[in-house]
């Protein structure tokens, strides 16, 4: 055959290339830290922020040059990209940890059993003491009510969109769900305020707040449930139909159980998202300094409004209480997440 490739110009075939020793990154890191700190002391670089930036730059430059010289271009670029990816991860995590740390440090100051069970009744903003018990009860009741409205409606709407929806109606619902995702929370509050408090003459209550929160939860639940239902393989639906199972039972017994883990996670995310809402609560239930265990009558406290109220009072004692309230809120949301993850694992398809 005359078409054989001329192999005389092949590059030398060596499978072994130069490699940096495994301790190289550690050495470069130590060098970078040492030189950045040294520069900081001798030239008075701008604080720890400037020092960190300079240290990182020194690390990248030394590593790239060394790697390029020993390992070649591809490895040098690989190391550079690895450094960038790790750095962005650190940059993303720093604020998160910082927030958690600040809330913990400041919130633990006045945290006690008393803080969890007492209300602010007859406690002046200037005085220490009092607690967020009334706000915890309010938040739990409002969020539970909101979930009781939004989760069933949201899941059913998603089932309609994925399993039954065809044509105009489905497209319209899908469009309005997208629009609802963008509704600012205060607008949801205003809507309930106008429709129920002004329109129907209901008094402000935790129930009205729950309605506003439910409006905010709905699009999140519909979208996540829709995604979860869509990734259930069509083969499973067909397998069920082929056994002579009616469509509604297929949805109920095959499609929903298969996607339940994701749906539970989505619902819990929605719950966590609305648990921290402040604006709609101010319009629909306002706040109170005492226990009001009945969500259907009269203003009810909640953790976000409690934090807002304490911060705006501005005294040392009330600001401390605001931080403690923030700690309780974050802990509650974290508990929701953990419960969601446990439930999700419990329901996840095994095998």
């Amino acid at each position: 055959m005359t078409t054989t490739v001329d192999t005389s110009t092949r590059p030398p075939s060596s499978l072994i290339g130069g490699t940096l020793p495994t301790w190289a990154p550690a050495l470069i890191g130590a060098l970078a830290v040492a030189s950045a700190v040294g520069l900081n002391m001798t030239t008075g670089l701008a604080g720890w922020f400037g020092t960190t930036i300079v240290g990182a730059l020194i690390f990248v430059v030394i590593q790239s040059i060394w790697s390029f010289a020993v390992e070649g271009k591809r490895h040098a670029v690989d190391r550079l990209a690895t450094t960038v990816v790790y750095s962005t991860f650190v940059i993303a995590v720093v604020p998160l940890i910082s927030v958690l740390f600040t809330v913990l440090a400041k919130g633990l100051k006045v945290m006690s059993w008393g803080f969890l069970v007492n209300s602010m009744r007859n406690v002046s903003p200037r005085n220490p003491g009092g607690g967020a018990g009334h706000a915890i009860v309010g938040t739990l009741e409002q969020v539970a009510l909101a979930a009781a409205f939004a989760i069933p409606v949201g899941i059913l709407a998603a089932i309609f969109l994925v399993e039954y929806g065809r044509g105009r109606l489905a497209r319209a619902i899908s469009f309005f769900v997208d629009v609802m995702t963008g509704v600012p929370s205060i607008v949801a509050g205003l809507f309930i305020f106008t429709a129920f408090v002004l329109g129907l003459g209901m008094e402000r209550s935790g129930f009205a707040a729950a309605l506003a929160l439910a409006i905010l939860m709905l699009p999140v639940i519909i979208r996540t449930t829709e995604e979860m239902l869509r990734i259930v393989p069509n083969e499973l639906r067909e397998a069920s139909y082929a056994l002579g199972v009616p469509k509604w039972r297929t949805v109920l017994k095959v499609v929903l159980p298969t996607s339940l883990a994701g749906i539970v996670t989505g619902a819990m995310l929605a719950v966590a998202r609305v648990a921290g809402e402040t604006a709609p609560l101010l319009l629909t239930t306002f706040l109170t300094q005492s226990y009001n265990n009945n969500p259907f009558a009269g203003p009810q406290a909640a953790l976000p409004t409690f934090i807002w109220d304490q911060i705006t009072s501005g005294t040392t004692a009330s600001v401390d209480r605001a931080w403690a309230g923030a700690l309780v809120l974050i802990t509650l949301i974290m508990i929701f997440y953990i419960v969601a993850k446990l439930l999700a694992n419990r329901f996840a398809p095994k095998g």
Binding site: R166, E238, P246, G351
Partner: protein, 259 residues
């Protein structure tokens, strides 16, 4: 004794596209019929019309009549759910329900169709169906383990057990062995020969040796060109089709000069 299937001048559509045209055939009760033909010729589509699974796809419909013994399954007032309980189906890829155990998978058709049954009845159905699918000995100690933990061949036999648990008259198999290794394929083929004593079986296969091994009757499907509807070219006893086909295109396909 199971039931026969007769198709009379059936046209099958996906929306405006005519996928299969003018299929008329007769499948005897308690026989194995193989549908062979090149990809895209409509043999799976024809299979899916026999238990009204075709219309699950939006826009798909069927023109013509399909008789189960002498009852038209496309007649007015016929509930497709009842058709599917009478005519079971096994798919190309094993698809046990991932949230269910082996026993629950076998019972899925019975339970989800809304029948209540006592615990001992349920156990009888599980054992009977798994024995029927030659799987009982392999799984009897782990009936409460998830079905998705089985090997591919075992999963496919689990799907067959699930299909026969609802006691159908006819069993449709859409390339049941194409995702399986030769040993599992042999197990399924042996099973098909056992099952034919109680069921009418129609199997779609790309494997002509398989058609030759398991089927009594073979139907060859082909299409004139891309975008044209598929047609049933000829149908006859398997030995006849493989040794003396009447049509040139059948001969070409079987001898490997085509498709």
């Amino acid at each position: 004794m199971s039931k026969s299937i007769t198709m009379q001048d059936v046209d099958i559509y996906y929306g405006a596209f005519k996928a299969v045209e003018g299929v008329s055939l007769k499948v005897q009760a308690n026989s194995v019929t193989a549908f062979i033909g090149p990809s895209g010729c409509g043999k799976s589509t024809v299979l899916r019309t026999i238990n009204r699974m075709h219309e699950v796809i939006p826009g798909a419909y069927v023109d013509g009549s399909v008789l189960l013994d002498d009852e038209n399954i496309y007649g007015s007032g016929v509930d497709p759910v009842n058709v599917r309980r009478t005519i079971g189906m096994v798919f190309q890829r094993p698809n046990p329900f991932p949230t269910m155990s082996i026993a629950e998978n076998v019972l899925a058709g019975v339970r989800l169709a809304g029948q209540r049954m006592s615990k001992s009845d349920a156990e009888d159905v599980v054992e009977g169906s798994l024995r029927g699918a030659n799987l009982w000995e392999e799984v009897k100690d782990r009936l409460d383990k998830p079905g998705s933990g089985l090997s591919g061949g075992q999963q496919q036999r689990l799907c067959i057990a699930r299909a026969i648990a609802v006691k159908p008259q006819v069993l449709l198999m859409d390339e049941p062995c194409s995702a399986l290794d030769p040993i599992s394929t042999l197990a399924i083929e042996d099973l098909i020969r056992d099952l034919v004593e109680q069921y009418t079986i129609i199997i779609v296969t790309h494997n002509m040796q398989q058609a030759g091994r398991v089927s009594d009757t073979t139907g060859f499907f082909n299409l004139a060109g891309v975008g044209q509807p598929g047609r049933l070219i000829e149908m006859g006893s398997t030995s006849e089709i493989f040794s003396h086909p009447k049509e040139q295109s059948t001969e070409d396909y079987i001898s490997g000069r085509f498709g």
